[in-house]
């Protein structure tokens, strides 16, 4: 191909600004284009013919189409963190300073040494990888190390462009949109549908993937209401954009259709400029929910497969015509049109009319209608009927074509007619309706023998096809079907019919049905899938080897699996397979199109989540923790202080100091993250009694009780204390991580299982800030600041709950202990949480009160044998954790029955124990318990669950689950941790290490 810019004049090259100059580089070389050009049109205007290399054989490839169906012309845009590979030159809008590189080539796109891949020729056919590389098999060892070695090399050669190695600096956005009628595609059918729908008062969103909406109208030679189609479209679209009910989105591709009329569209907000402005997103995902949709996505021209059809210079005929008419660029100095239908002739005529030399028109058909013959004459081309192109020649780009006789009915190639010099073959093999979106929903297409094409099948969702997408070709049909589809969509939306005018059309009326010719089988490499180098021989080989179902064909040859998803190749592949099987095309089937319609940036789908994966959940004291140098630790969505490290302290040193301070004096910890549920109602007691495994019916007012909650299958689900605040009012606390699940569990049982119980459930996790004050001096601290309530053992006994006041803040104080020390949990309104914390810190100052984090909290409860998340792992029962005493036998509750199953009562179940290091070595998290030494550990008999250094015992200890553990206290075994390279001799002990009688917390 040696394209060039035509003399721009009125009516030619309307898409580009005739007087502009845009500088850009391709592989480092400077070129000049015009505003409105795509990279493809600009490269073509500059005579660049080889733009890319194919995937497998690295064959030189040029520009094949003018839109998103492009299989060949893939380039890499930008560099550094914005590097973007595999961008279709046919869609990339030119801007000043655009830098583009070719890809998948070494050293350059014109000289690609990786093209040696094609030398093995026929050996490198479909199925090649499956049949070899197994390598020799050695006795006793058949692992395919040979393949593992070869695979490294193959991976390096495969792939197209290179991705960025640094984070994308741009932002992405999202918009949730609702409308009555979504119109996909702003060509004649889409414009007509949108106008009609808007006229009925519908809220309309009209999307078009191009920078300039209008679709085929942008290059139609017809006059509409007496004006050029381009002008007409411009005016109508401007009117639509002004309409208050209509949103027109250009550069917006509707990528996929989901259930219930939900669509994902991606708007390329700033891809046509060098980089997004500050605060601007690069792309925006539109999640569109509509009541109905009009799908007017047009049709995609398909080629005819012939020998040598991959040379740069061979392209789709209508695309060639569009380059001429829209961009004012001639695709070559001498063009040869090869077609099986009338549209090829119109392309020839329109090109010739605008100054392009059309050498020949080759049509497989013996005869064509008179108006078409006239169009051919207008083009001044030599006409070959009943003929086909059977070979091409040229060094890298095209320089000529062999024209031979061809019999359409038999597919036979006859004598050679003429060798013609040309640098562009514009080929048209008919049109395939673009029903990708509807196919994504699994709607089976139906074959139209007349059009030799599949049309969309019945609708699962509310959508209506219009225009070429629905097989309504030509402007007249497009406008009319757009209106009709809009009327149906309006009915779906419960709106009236509206009204609109179809424009008066002056121009050709032609037949779009092609001759049923998909391939010219004349020997020689004929490519079906240009990007993946799948040849017609590969398809036939797949057939010989039994890969005859369409899906097998696709998977075995990789046909249609390239970045273009086979938009221009699937039909040809299918037709060749059908011929090989001797069956009609519809019996061979069609592949289902999979979303998205065109490749979609991952960042765009992530949208606003890119750079902001999930919101953090913060306690009222968060800023204080951070200011005090706490390491913040992700616990579900919450951030919690892990430990407050003083300078030079490790986390371990810090938590040991903090835990020891609690045991010896007093500490305070932020427990605001605990789940808190307000349970009220006359049946609240009964409800809790059914939910918890232990009794709750008789809990007195002003008392708290520790409760166990089971899943219905008998496994422990969550635990926590529940406080009876009034006769019919409770405050339930849950684990931090379990809060949401517990709420769901309660609501399910209240709504679905026992709807007759009057229970109100409200999450109050965010209402209450919570601070636990723990340690032998805890009471002294509270004494110094609490009013309205005594804190002595008499006033506030263990498990007692009281309303009180601290420095003017109304609080609830509960005498609860997770640490085993004398402790109080103080709750107040979250807005006062920081103030409460400050008051407690101040009151505790003379007792050297120490804030402690999650690690110390955990250490204290491990020493005490209290279970938490690691032990409540969804596989443990109350019995396993030594909590059998909390399983009531006097009542039924959720999980009671299945807890009775045999397997839950076997003696060798994993049971909770503690272990302590015998020789001072550190027991590390994730250890397993074994009998053997480091070299021969033997099998796992259990594992550690929560591990720490115990300041109380001054050694490493751990809670653990051990087979039959409850009967094994005193046994000496090993905690082995090969992945952390430790093996520690340990003694099995009771999990209640500190103060087993509970004297301290009751004191």
């Amino acid at each position: 191909m040696s394209g060039f810019r035509l003399n721009l004049r009125d009516g030619l090259g309307r898409a580009v600004d005739h007087d502009s100059k845009i500088n850009f580089t391709f592989d480092g070389k400077n070129y000049e284009g015009r505003k409105g050009d795509t990279l493809a049109s600009a490269l073509m205007a500059n005579g660049v013919s080889i733009v890319a290399r194919s995937f497998k054989y690295h064959r030189p490839r040029g520009i094949f189409s003018a839109g998103s169906e492009e299989p060949n012309a893939l380039v890499t845009v930008h560099s550094g963190p914005r590097t973007e590979p595999n961008i279709r030159a046919t869609e990339l809008e030119l801007y000043e300073g655009l830098e583009v590189k070719s890809q998948n080539r070494w050293p350059s796109v014109n000289l690609d040494l990786m093209a040696v891949n094609q030398l093995p020729g026929k050996a490198f056919s479909a199925g090649f990888y499956y049949k070899t590389f197994m390598g020799p098999s050695r006795p006793g060892h058949k692992a395919t190390q040979f393949w593992w070695f070869c695979e490294q090399l193959i991976r390096r050669a495969a792939g197209l462009g290179k991705g960025a190695s640094q984070a994308d600096p741009d932002k992405y956005g999202r918009m949730n949109a609702f409308c009555d009628v979504l119109v996909v595609g702003a060509g004649p059918a889409g414009i007509s549908a949108a106008e009609r729908a808007a006229s009925a008062g519908a809220k309309v969103i009209l999307c078009d993937e191009s920078a300039v909406a209008g679709g085929s109208l942008l290059s139609s030679p017809e006059l509409l209401d007496g004006e050029p189609a381009f002008d007409w479209a411009e005016e109508r679209l401007a009117e639509l954009a002004e309409h208050e009910n209509v949103t027109v989105l250009t550069r917006t591709t509707v990528q996929s259709m989901f259930d219930d009329n939900t669509y994902l569209a991606v708007e390329r907000v700033a891809d046509h400029i060098k980089r997004p402005a500050k605060h601007q997103v690069r792309q925006r995902a539109w999640n569109i929910r509509c009541k109905s949709a009009v799908i007017a996505t047009g049709a995609i021209e398909r080629p005819i497969v012939f020998a040598g059809n991959d040379r740069p210079g061979v392209m789709l005929a209508d695309s060639a015509r569009r380059y001429v008419v829209e961009f004012g660029v001639s695709p070559g100095k001498a063009v040869c049109v090869f077609t099986n239908n009338d549209t090829g002739w119109l392309a020839a005529r329109d090109m010739a009319k605008n100054g392009v030399i059309v050498e020949a028109i080759v049509d497989v058909r013996k005869d064509v209608p008179d108006n078409i013959r006239a169009a051919g004459e207008e083009s001044r081309a030599e006409i070959f009927l009943g003929a086909a192109i059977t070979a091409t020649n040229g060094f890298q780009s095209l320089s000529g074509a062999q024209i031979s006789e061809f019999t359409e009915t038999s597919g036979e190639v006859g004598r050679k007619l003429k060798k013609i010099g040309c640098d562009c073959i514009a080929v048209s093999g008919g049109w395939s309706p673009a029903f990708h979106l509807t196919s994504q929903q699994g709607e089976k297409p139906v074959w139209d023998a007349e059009l030799q094409a599949f049309l969309p099948g019945g609708a699962i969702s509310a959508w209506h096809g219009a225009g070429a997408m629905a097989g309504k070709f030509g402007l007249r049909h497009a406008f009319r079907s757009g209106e009709e589809a809009a009327v149906k969509a309006l009915a779906d939306a419960g709106l009236g019919e509206g009204d609109s005018d179809v424009p008066r059309i002056e121009g050709d009326e032609i037949d779009y049905a092609p001759a049923p010719v998909f391939e010219i089988n004349s020997g020689g490499k004929a490519f079906v899938d240009l990007q993946h180098d799948v040849t017609s021989e590969d398809v036939r080989l797949a057939h010989r080897e039994g890969f005859i179902s369409v899906e097998h064909l696709k998977r075995y040859t990789t046909l249609g699996m390239a970045t273009d998803q086979g938009k221009t190749s699937n039909m040809s592949g299918l037709a060749i397979m059908a011929e090989a099987r001797g069956k009609p095309i519809p019996e061979v089937g069609t592949t289902r199109f999979r979303p998205p319609y065109t490749p979609t940036a991952l960042g765009a789908i992530a949208g606003e989540s890119y750079g902001h994966l999930a919101s953090e959940r913060l306690t009222p004291m968060h800023d204080w923790h951070v200011a005090e140098g706490a390491n913040m630790y992700a616990n579900g969505p919450w951030l919690r202080p892990e430990s407050y490290n003083r300078s030079g302290e490790s986390v371990e040193q810090a938590y040991i100091r903090e835990a020891a301070a609690v045991r010896k004096g007093v500490g305070l910890v932020d427990v605001s993250t605990l789940g808190k549920i307000d349970v009220q109602g006359p049946d609240a007691a009964e409800f809790l009694n059914r939910i918890y495994s232990n009794g709750f019916a008789k809990l007195p007012v002003d008392k708290a009780r520790y409760g166990l909650m089971l899943r219905e299958d008998g496994m422990l689900f969550d635990d926590g204390t529940t406080w009876r605040l009034e006769e019919n009012r409770y405050l339930m606390t849950t684990t931090t991580a379990g809060a949401g699940q517990v709420m769901d569990h309660l609501e399910y049982h209240r709504d679905v299982v026992w709807p007759d119980l009057k229970v109100a459930l409200t999450s109050v996790s965010d209402e209450w800030a919570g601070v636990a004050v723990a340690g032998p001096k805890a009471r002294n601290v509270l004494k110094g600041c609490v009013s309205d309530c005594g804190v002595s053992n008499e006033d506030l006994p263990f498990m007692g709950v009281q309303k009180a006041n601290i420095a003017g803040i109304p609080v609830w104080i509960a005498r609860l202990s997770f640490s085993g020390e004398m402790a109080y949990e103080v709750y107040c309104g979250a807005g006062w949480g920081q103030e409460l914390w400050n008051v407690l810190m101040k009151a505790g100052k003379r007792f050297n009160i120490t804030p402690y984090g999650l690690e110390a909290l955990s250490t204290l409860r491990i020493e005490k044998g209290h279970v938490a998340g690691p032990e409540l792992n969804g596989r443990t029962t109350p019995y396993d954790l030594g909590l059998g005493g909390m399983v009531s036998s006097k009542k039924n509750f959720v999980g009671a029955t299945l807890l009775k199953r045999d397997a839950f009562h076997e003696e060798d179940r994993l049971q909770l124990v503690a272990i302590k290091s015998i020789d001072g070595q550190r027991i590390r998290g994730g250890s397993h318990l074994v009998k053997g030494n480091k070299d021969e550990p033997g099998r796992s008999e259990g594992n550690t669950t929560s591990t720490c250094f115990s300041p109380e015992l001054e050694c490493y200890i751990s809670l653990a689950m051990l087979e039959g553990g409850a009967a094994r206290y005193g046994e000496k075994i090993y905690a082995t941790n090969p992945v952390r390279d430790c093996h520690v001799a340990v003694e099995v002990v009771s999990p209640h290490i500190v103060d087993p009688d509970g004297g301290r917390m009751h004191g």
Binding site: F258, D260, T262, P637, E712, D751, K758, G869, N892, K900
Partner: protein, 106 residues
């Protein structure tokens, strides 16, 4: 710790009609499975009855009556009738204490 570090970052999107809030994305709801699984009465402690309730599912290919909780809305439970092959929703009925006082919205 078997609990996921992060909350579930998303659920699903079809459109369900909550009897209280109206039509919303599925994403606002929590799926709770087959609505035909009925818990045995609180007095019933037959292992077989409980096993069937907890584990046995018809898992139909076609219309499925299933429970959803409008977790991010009014928090009502609804029984949705949905075809598991086409995903077409043909019913959203309220359940729970308020079911009797309100009609399914369509």
């Amino acid at each position: 710790m078997k609990r996921a570090v992060a909350p579930h970052l998303g659920t699903i999107k079809m459109r369900l009609t909550c009897p209280f809030c109206g039509e919303r994305d599925h994403q606002e709801f929590t799926y709770r499975g087959d609505a035909s699984a009925k818990r045995p009465a609180i007095e019933n402690d037959s292992i077989e009855d409980h096993r069937a309730y907890v584990f046995d599912r018809a898992n139909p290919d076609g219309d499925h009556r299933e429970l959803w909780n409008h977790t991010s809305g009014c928090r009502m439970h609804v029984v949705v009738t949905r075809n598991t092959t086409t995903h077409k929703v043909t019913g959203c009925e309220p359940v729970g204490p308020w079911a009797k006082t309100m009609k399914a919205r369509s």
